[in-house]
């Protein structure tokens, strides 16, 4: 589904990603872990098409298409979804209106008829249950004045609405208490399917207790330095990142 080959990227002429290789198949959940500043969020941003990042080398193929040639909206239409680490507050645009516009734009680009108001509301009610998100919240301006937990729940709700093929969760656990974390993780689990792949970017193992990954990769200094099964995450939780750093230094 997704093939990342020797991906290099920089921001403000500072090289952050120094050659990432990663292969993701439908239905898989990959966790990307690593110490602060290792390039985790950069990788998520580059995949979603954030313009501040300049890709300086390598390639990314998504379902046979050159992802790096696509605009962020084209990537969304192709089925890529980024759950933001810091969801943006947009005063004056309700979540409902925002999502209706987004969903119908995506449908349009796929040659599907737009949903009318009734169809949209029905779909929304159904999906809102997945993360237990309140109707009243959806009628408010997007993320404006939402708590951290509400923002992250809203991200997963959006994911449920847009039904991506590949979801990238960028530190979705940051700033969440355990109850909020559980709701968000359960929402993600309900959305797992044999067709849908998920990349979970996180600093802590905690989230992976709830969203159990098939693979864990450790990103350090812009490279994936170690890959393994979910046990690798426990090891990192127990021993921290220093032993990884030492291993890399020894090479």
């Amino acid at each position: 589904m997704l093939t990342i080959t020797d991906l290099q990227a920089s921001v403000d002429d500072k090289e952050i990603l120094k050659g990432i290789n990663l292969e993701i198949k439908p239905g898989e959940v990959h966790a990307i872990m690593g110490p602060n500043g290792s390039g985790k969020s950069t990788l998520a941003s580059v995949l979603a098409g954030r313009e501040e990042y300049e890709v300086t080398g390598g390639s990314v193929e998504f379902e046979g298409q050159d992802l790096l040639e696509m605009s962020p909206e084209e990537r969304a239409a192709a089925g890529i979804f980024l759950a933001f680490q810091y969801p943006v507050e947009i005063p004056g645009v309700t979540t409902i209106n925002f999502l209706k516009t987004a969903l119908n734009e995506i449908r349009k680009s796929r040659g599907e008829a737009p949903l009318d108001a009734a169809q949209f509301l029905k779909l929304m009610r159904e999906k809102a249950k997945i993360v237990n998100i309140d109707d009243a919240l959806l009628k408010r301006s997007l993320n404006e004045g939402f708590s951290g937990g509400e923002k992250k729940r809203n991200e997963i709700f959006q994911m449920a609405m847009l039904e991506p093929k590949l979801a990238i969760l960028d530190e979705t656990d940051s700033g969440l208490d355990i109850d909020a974390l559980r709701i968000v993780a359960e929402g993600v689990n309900k959305l797992r399917s044999p067709e849908r792949a998920v990349i979970v970017v996180t600093h802590y193992q905690r989230l992976l207790d709830y969203i159990v990954p098939d693979y864990v990769h450790v990103l350090y200094k812009g490279r994936i330095v170690k890959s393994g099964s979910k046990e690798l995450a426990f090891e990192l939780e127990e021993k921290g990142y220093d032993w990884i750093k030492a291993e890399v230094a020894a090479l």
């Binding site: 979603a48 098409g49 954030r50 313009e51 605009s71 962020p72 909206e73 990537r75 969304a76 239409a77 979804f81 980024l82 933001f84 969801p87 943006v88 947009i90 005063p91 004056g92 645009v93 925002f98 999502l99 516009t101 987004a102 969903l103 734009e105 995506i106 680009s109 301006s141 959006q158 847009l162």
Partner: protein
């Protein structure tokens, strides 16, 4: 008043005034005409303002004064043309003024006379002399303001509204000022007087629209008297052409416990100057002023507000927002006076702008003159660009960039648009704004 004006605009107007006066017969002796004559004298003394005048520093009327206008353009604007004006579902008391003249045929008054007395200015001079004697030109400052003086001198048409005490006018009043510039450079000077009695309530809109490719000049003055405990919603909507000059003054006086809401939306216009002056001549009054403007191309929009807290315990709040593109220019000048005896005044002002081009410019000038210690006043202005992160967020959800930008700009305006409580006007504007923002 039928002559073409040339760059001797001032002398031309003086001559016009005399010509008009000679045709007045009995009306020349009325109090209204005494005011006109006084105003003409003031206009002669003041002349047109130049950019040396502090209040006109950023709005140069030099090009206006040099142009030729006909104040009496004949228009065949009729029912068919109304169809082409895009306010659907327009219900209520809808009055049409074409090139400044009331058009009874197109207009419809639906409210019962017990709720609403509404008639054109010319008729009011004959039928409501006592109302005009009490209120006309008592508030709009023709002594010092050249354009107000000019309008007062030529006050012959427009609307006179009287809402009797205790009446709630259920249907809105919508005044449509159509400038028909299809055949010539058309000018008009509507004059409106709105008197809302004690405990009375009314919603009204003034909608200005220019059609045709020639130049136009509108010099409008509206006086609004809000009596004790009355509630007035007033909306001014401008959708004129690139060649249109619009200079307007809305002069409001509020008595005890009255509420006044103003929303001024400039969708299009070549050169626009809106003066909104409110005197809070009562205690426990509330005034809200909202504004929106979207100049593009070479458009110029200048909003001057003046809030005069003359008595204690009142509240005023204003929020103006603009989105500027291309080489357009904007001005916001907000003056707040708190008089010596006006303790416990709360007065707030905010002006927020998004400037989308390096060549566009916005001049904001808050002016607070406070002569009392026991008050709460604040003002703030911001000028910025659109939030790139918000645009990326929307794009990452599949919304194309152009759409995301429009949505974001519309969202910026939303809190002002939602203040408009006449649904047909709000819907109309909302459509116009989306269209304009997408340009």
């Amino acid at each position: 008043m039928s002559n073409i004006l040339n760059n001797d605009l001032k002398q031309q107007l003086v001559a016009d005034f005399q010509a008009t006066e000679s045709r007045l017969n009995g009306e020349a002796k009325t109090e209204v005409h005494q005011k006109r004559r006084e105003a003409m004298q003031r206009f002669e003394a003041l002349g047109f303002p130049t950019i040396k005048h502090e209040e006109w520093k950023y709005s140069n009327v030099n090009n206006l004064v040099k142009q030729a206008f006909d104040f009496n353009v004949k228009s065949d604007f009729g029912a068919n043309d109304v169809e082409t004006l895009e306010i659907p579902n327009l219900q209520g008391n809808v009055l049409y003024f074409v090139n400044g003249m009331y058009n009874a045929e197109l207009s419809s008054i639906v409210s019962p006379e017990s709720q609403l007395q509404i008639l054109n200015f010319g008729r009011a001079v004959k039928e409501k002399p006592e109302l005009l004697a009490t209120y006309f030109a008592h508030y709009a400052n023709y002594q010092d303001e050249a354009f107000t003086a000019l309008n007062t001198a030529f006050a012959h048409d427009g609307v006179v509204v009287h809402v009797p005490a205790g009446k709630v006018v259920e249907e809105p009043i919508i005044l449509r000022f159509i400038t028909d510039a299809r055949t010539a450079n058309a000018a008009s000077q509507p004059r409106n007087l709105i008197v809302v009695g004690k405990n009375a309530e009314v919603k009204m809109a003034e909608a200005f629209r220019t059609i045709g490719d020639n130049g136009s000049f509108t010099n409008v003055v509206t006086e609004i008297v809000v009596e004790e405990n009355a509630n007035v919603q007033y909306y001014k909507v401008q959708n004129e052409t690139e060649k249109a000059y619009h200079i307007g003054t809305t002069q409001v006086i509020q008595k005890d416990k009255s509420h006044f809401y103003a929303v001024t939306v400039t969708v299009n216009g070549g050169f626009v100057r809106n003066n909104l002056n409110i005197v809070l001549d009562g205690q426990h009054c509330e005034s809200f002023m909202y504004g929106l403007y979207f100049p593009n191309g070479k458009q110029h929009v200048d909003n001057h507000t003046l809030v005069d807290h003359a008595k204690p315990n009142s509240y005023s709040n204003e929020l103006y927002k603009g989105i500027l593109k291309d080489t357009s220019t904007g001005v916001f000048n907000g003056k707040i006076f708190v008089r010596e005896y006006a303790s416990k005044t709360n007065a707030y002002q905010s002006c927020r702008n998004v400037v989308l081009s390096d060549e566009a410019s916005m001049n904001t000038k808050p002016q607070l003159e406070i002569y009392n210690d026991d008050v709460k006043c604040s003002h703030g202005t911001t000028t910025g660009k659109l939030n790139d992160e918000a645009i990326f967020y929307m794009r990452s959800r599949g919304i194309p960039k152009a759409e995301a930008v429009t949505l974001l700009m519309y969202a910026f305006c939303e809190d002002v648009i939602s203040q408009i409580k006449i649904e047909s006007i709000r819907e109309y504007l909302s459509g116009l704004i989306v269209e304009k923002l997408a340009q």
